[in-house]
Symmetry: C2
Subunit: 325 residues, 2 copies
């Protein structure tokens, strides 16, 4: 008890009166061991408060010691999003019992080598890509096959877990149509972000089916861009009676600009968002839910349990009706 040095497997083995191999087998739950041995090792480990050393395990297995969250984007500012915070924290929670940690890094959109550099690190036990492109997905090394998940678009080698953008957006557009809106515009996400396309496609599809023309302006998820986009929409199509934002931040920007210009929301123009951030309820924004934590938890779990996942897992997004539309 002197220096209270954390016990090693050798300590456990000695106390249990067996060899290290036997102790290893029962602790790791692999291979054979007699009930007696099992019992004694368990007891010893318990008494000593033994915790396996994950570094040693990682070393022998060549398996790595942390989960890398690679956030793709134009600048490191992509890491400042609360979406990233939620995802990272949720994963850090999932990792804890596995003795793994989480690391976040920004991957520049236009310097693909950076991903390779990051994944060349043997310390990386698993990889979660956030907002990735298909090109980047193809750079995921073999070593990480089966240990990578993309939150966003996926690929043949990397399964994806994501929100059902299409379903959520469809619910929103249908609602707008149901309440009589017919000249519906959309502020989209950035071009390169494939997972945002599903929203746009849902919007287009529904409008096409209804015989309505699409009115699209490119945005980037930010409120600032939302403001500018609102102006652009009304300049190009002055009779617009609804604007679908790709995100809540976008919608908030749109509403701000509209009100500043004397346009009434929702009377003149209905506005919707996506994500249902806390702010959305405060300003009564109609939107669609986005369970980020649950998605991140699912992604991390898939990687950590190293279990084969379907190519795509979509979490449902529910319409959240409030005052803005």
């Amino acid at each position: 008890m002197a220096a209270h040095r954390p016990a090693t497997l050798a300590d456990v083995a000695r106390v249990a009166g067996v060899s290290r191999s036997t102790a290893s087998r029962v602790i790791a739950g692999t291979g054979f061991a007699s009930p007696t041995a099992r019992e004694r090792v368990r007891a010893a480990a318990d008494r000593l408060g033994y915790v396996p050393n994950s570094a040693a395990r990682a070393l022998v297995h060549g398996t790595g010691v942390r989960l890398l969250v690679a956030v793709v984007g134009a600048s490191p500012a992509v890491l400042d999003d609360s979406y990233v915070d939620q995802a990272v924290a949720a994963m850090a929670r999932v990792c804890a019992p596995y003795g793994l940690g989480v690391t976040v890094q920004w991957v520049p959109l236009d310097v693909p080598d950076e991903l390779t550099r990051l994944t060349d690190d043997r310390g990386v036990a698993g990889l979660i890509m956030l907002n990735t492109t298909t090109a980047l997905l193809d750079l995921v090394p073999r070593r990480l096959r089966g240990r990578s998940v993309s939150i966003g678009i996926g690929s043949a080698a990397v399964p994806s877990v994501d929100i059902d953008n299409g379903g959520g957006t469809a619910a929103i557009v249908r609602h707008l149509y149901a309440v009589g809106r017919r000249r519906i515009a959309m502020v989209t996400g950035p071009r390169w972000l494939a997972c945002a396309h599903r929203s746009v496609e849902a919007y287009r599809g529904l409008l096409r089916d209804a015989g309505l023309p699409a009115r699209e302006v490119t945005g980037d998820f930010s409120a600032a861009r939302g403001r500018a986009a609102a102006r652009e929409v009304l300049r190009r199509w002055p009779d617009t009676d609804a604007i679908v934002g790709i995100s809540d931040a976008t919608a908030l920007g749109v509403i701000g600009q509209l009100r500043a210009d004397g346009v009434r929301v929702p009377d003149d123009v209905a506005v919707t968002g996506f994500d249902d951030i806390p702010l959305a309820s405060a300003v009564a924004l109609t939107t669609a839910s986005h369970p980020v934590r649950r998605i991140a938890t699912a992604a991390a779990t898939t990687v950590l349990e190293h279990r084969p996942a379907p190519a795509a897992t979509l979490f449902p997004s529910a319409l959240v009706l409030r005052d803005s539309a």
Copy 2:
């Protein structure tokens, strides 16, 4: 280039034509090495895209491989706070270049052994305590001395990094006084949370100096408790003309209840928060800033660089004037 197996130090040494020891010395930047050797090793490492294996390093140094964020509280629900998300994500960012990961775990307020169990893991390279008590701080093992920081209250062995609660609260109370409020109540934090005491003390001190009586109701940072507290304040002291909330969530609850009861804010009762969360600006809440990310970054940096820190580092909190007070 075949399987693109990440290079090991042995590879680097071979390519550089030196021994592993020498390569180790120049890579780790420790010990002697001739300029020639230094140069050749650098070149080889560069060409091979060598990344040191952090598990192996951790193993030999016995130093651990991840930063543990221990969040103290009554239930695991304390992990659901966006404050925790921000802190964890910020640390995961700081850790990346060190080859370390981050893990979050809840530490029950009343089961102190849990902390010991968590820190008995050799994989833990450093410890960040969040919202801790003094009793728990005393349980931080020797091994982690100089590798622990508390965000909140500190101790002789564990330095603290925190927001200047006292200063922020003082600025708020002074403002309230300056605009003519004289019957100022406060909804405090939970009793056990020592770092929240500083706010209460600042409030009491200022009121005492002004010859005004303190009016305190115990809260718990939640909006729900804020609502109840608002009722209690007005029941006990009906002439209250200002309520200082320990957090923005508390203040939001207070405002909600007040308005529901037909009390005008700020006309009848001024209300203030603390933290300046995004919602605060949306509802025009007067509050004080709380740079969580910067604080978390500072805490993690101190641990990772293993540098001696002052017993307490306080980040300034700035008054944010809006409409609610």
